[in-house]
Amino acid sequence: MTIKGKLFPGQTNEEKVFLLIRKHWFNYLIFLLVGILGAIPVAAAVYFWLAFPSIVADNSIDIYLIVILTVFVLGIFAALLYGFVDYYLDVYIVTDRRVVDISQNGFFKREISELHLHQVQDVNARVDGFFETLFHFGDVYIQTAGERENFVFKSVPQPYAIARQIIDLNESHLEEDEDADKKVETKPLNNKLGEKPILSFDKLESAAKSLLEKSSFAERVKNAGIVVNPEIKSKVDKDNKEYEGTLTEGKEIDL
């Protein structure tokens, strides 16, 4: 199953997206805990305010309480938003051609790196830890050819299934490449009119060689479609005969 639409810069129209992966929701839990823990004192203050309005009014602290509570609540909202942007805009994309890592760090740092499938050498998955095992998430390591940095999908759900799918896509991509190479090797040469194939590259090369060996200079010029001035042609033919004669006799040519 593929995902439609343009998901990253540089994506071509023919490119099929097979996986769009975000980190496991457990990574956002720390921000949710901040929100939940922050809501406790807010709820307590509101309860105090509603339960003992006379105390609050008598001490003239109601404006202070409103401002402090509002700033506190807005701070929690801001933390939740920051965490959500950081968590939700980190995306790993696997297409039939490449692996793309879009990394959002805060509001003002965004990195996009990609790796072509033919550069993938090995893919491993690792689930390491209590919560990782409990909630089925872990890291996927993509080892690359050459000096390129390895790709790591951090804290993604179902890492073994993702690793398996990347391996399958890599293998099918390599098979497609091999098939394409074979087609190029065996593809016959078509004539200009696009009719039936007439010659392979090898046959054409040998035919051209034999033609050059057998034909005279004049024939070669004629075959090449060159129009020669008659005076020059006669001189060239004369010289050509002299050279041919000289060569057959095995003597040096005086140019």
């Binding site: 404006i63 401002v67 807005l74 938003l81 942007v85």
Partner: protein
């Protein structure tokens, strides 16, 4: 209203401006880089509604205290 009240209201308005700028940056990122059909648009709506409600409520309560 005392001078202390004035100071805290001014501080509140300054922090409110900072919060609005921060929110615009965050919402812009979600709107710009989120994909259609994912949770980015619902998150923008929920965040905007919730924070607007809190700010309006606080301004309403403060204005009641000031003008009462």
């Amino acid at each position: 209203m005392t001078s202390g009240d004035n100071i805290i209201i001014i501080l509140y308005l300054i922090s409110l401006i900072g919060f609005i700028i921060f929110s615009i940056a965050g919402v812009y990122h979600l709107w710009r880089f989120g994909y259609s059909g994912d949770l980015s648009k619902p998150a923008i709506i929920i965040y905007t509604l919730a924070s607007t409600a809190v700010v309006l409520l606080s301004l309403f309560l403060i204005s009641i205290r000031i003008f009462s």
